[in-house]
């Protein structure tokens, strides 16, 4: 069986498992939007701050669910992979002609599939509640592509955690760490409006800020080449780093001859 077929079957299994755990896909579809609704309602007044880049906090904040949804997809899929290691299912797969790369690719294929559905959902909800995309339909498509790339990047780190630790608890415990990256960012305010120096600096060093800003620019600005270059560049870099490290971790985990 060729690599593509193996990736297909393992990816299909990954998707089936996610679908059979409703909490793993219902919650990521609803919770980020609920949080968005709360933050939008709570910080609507921030649009009155001089220099705030939009008169709609909803449009400003729409980037958030894409990032948080990607985090959920990552942690959930990472936990599934860790469970495979804990139960010995990985050994079962290792005893087949499956190529190691197919395991990782199949796992990430599942994460991407979920991420794609999530991205479409968030875009749809955004359009339905009246968010205007300054970059038009093409911009919405680019948001979709970037969102899927972000899911892939985060997913590779989730796989890394699963392969390095082989423990579902350890992967779960990543979630607070990802949360920190999400909150200490330009999620709630543009970086130039963050008053607290250390927070602004931390947000400027945080790659997640640029991912958020890339998506946000397509919603509230139009075509901002710098923001897009930074967003895509960081997503691609994270993907390469995550994939490399998780491939190495897989080699160590599957020490078959």
């Amino acid at each position: 069986m060729n690599l593509a077929s193996q990736v297909f079957y393992l990816g299909r299994r990954s998707v089936i498992r996610i679908l059979r755990q409703p909490a793993n896909w219902v919650f990521p579809l609803i919770f980020p939007l609920a949080l968005m609704a709360v933050n939008t309602g709570g910080l609507h007044a921030a649009t009155n701050l001089p220099g705030f880049p939009s008169d709609s906090f909803l449009a400003f904040f729409l980037a958030f669910p894409f990032i948080q949804g990607a985090l959920f997809a990552t942690v959930n899929a990472g936990v599934d992979l860790a469970r495979d290691i804990q139960t010995g299912f990985l050994n079962r797969l290792a005893l087949t002609p499956m190529r190691s790369g197919a395991l990782l690719a199949g796992h990430l294929a599942g994460v991407i599939a979920v991420g794609a559905v999530q991205a479409l959902w968030y875009l749809t909800v955004g359009i339905v509640v009246g968010v205007r995309f300054e970059s038009g339909a093409l911009g919405a498509f680019v948001i979709f592509v970037l969102a899927v790339l972000i899911v892939f990047a985060f997913g590779s780190f989730g796989a890394l955690a699963a392969l390095r630790t082989g423990s579902t608890e350890a992967v779960h415990s990543l979630f607070p760490l990802f949360f920190v990256f999400l909150f200490i960012s330009s999620m709630n305010l543009p970086r130039n409006l963050i008053e607290t120096d250390w927070f602004r600096i931390a947000a400027s060093l945080n790659p997640v800020s640029y991912l958020i800003e890339a998506i946000r620019s397509l919603v509230i600005e139009g075509w901002n080449a710098e923001a897009l270059a930074l967003g895509f560049g960081i997503a691609i870099t994270l993907s390469i780093v995550g994939l490399t490290l998780s491939s190495l971790a897989l080699r160590g985990r599957m020490s078959r001859t």
Binding site: G41, A45, A46, I184, L189
Partner: protein, 257 residues
């Protein structure tokens, strides 16, 4: 009475011992409130400049009250997770068999949640003072603020205990957490209620947490308002959730633990 006290103390001691000797239980409970305090007070301090925002002792104190109450509520919820673990492991059956007065089990959990939160509150307060939070209230005002937080802690625990004793499995987790989260966040978290967006303002007015939050903030500002109403609401919630929890205990007994 003596039996009730001895069971209460035994259960409380166990919860506190497990919490303070298990890093994976202790650290999130301490770190998350600090993290939220940092993210909200640090990242959103510019909200102080929003037209119409008037809080005499500054945004740090404004957010401190929210994080204090949030940490109190979630200390109760996290203790609820511990109750679920006891059901999953079967330990609750051991408690029910041994305890001459089973109400002591519930009281013990309540005391355990309080003990857990008191440590968090101490750390949080220390950090707030160190970063220079301004305090307008006097000793009585501050005592009232922390007393209100204690009642919120009881509410969090009693709600979670009732859920845990009814569901008796990991499924209880989201059911415990989500309503508490929504109650806390459908409130004036970032700005006073007068500055919330229309729909959220309506919900916030109906949400009892708003009363607790605004009263708490008035205490720290040194101009206490609606104190009696806030305590009445909190005590009413404690009473209601107590009934909920005790009935849950009876259901758990009937199911054999």
């Amino acid at each position: 009475m003596r039996q009730l006290v001895s069971v209460t103390n035994a259960v409380a001691w166990r919860m506190l011992h497990n919490n303070f000797t298990t890093p994976s239980l202790l650290i999130p409970g301490l770190v998350f409130p600090l993290f939220f305090f940092t993210a909200f007070a640090g990242g959103l301090s510019r909200v102080n400049d929003v037209p119409g925002f008037r809080f005499p002792v500054g945004y740090t104190a404004f957010q401190f009250v929210f994080v204090l109450l949030q940490s109190a509520a979630f200390a109760g919820v996290f203790t609820g997770f511990g109750i679920v673990r006891d059901f999953e492991s079967g330990f609750i059956r051991r408690l029910m068999l041994a305890a001459p007065d089973r109400r002591g089990i519930l009281l013990g959990y309540t005391l355990g949640a309080l003990g857990r939160w008191l440590v968090t509150a101490t750390v949080l307060t220390t950090v707030a003072v160190v970063v220079g939070m301004q305090v307008g209230g006097n000793g009585v005002d501050l005592f009232a603020l922390y007393a209100l937080a204690v009642l919120v802690n009881f509410c969090g625990l009693l709600w979670s205990a009732g859920v845990a004793m009814r569901l008796r499995s990991l499924q209880a987790g989201p059911v415990m957490q989500l309503p508490v989260f929504l109650c806390l966040f459908f409130a004036p978290v970032f700005v006073p209620v007068s500055l919330l967006a229309g729909w959220l303002q309506v919900i916030a007015h109906l949400n009892p947490v708003t009363l607790l939050l605004e009263s708490g903030r008035s205490m720290i500002a040194g101009d206490p308002t609606h104190v009696a109403a806030a305590f009445a609401a909190a005590l009413a919630l404690v009473a209601a959730f107590s009934v909920w929890a005790v009935r849950g205990l009876r259901k758990a007994e009937a199911a054999g633990g």
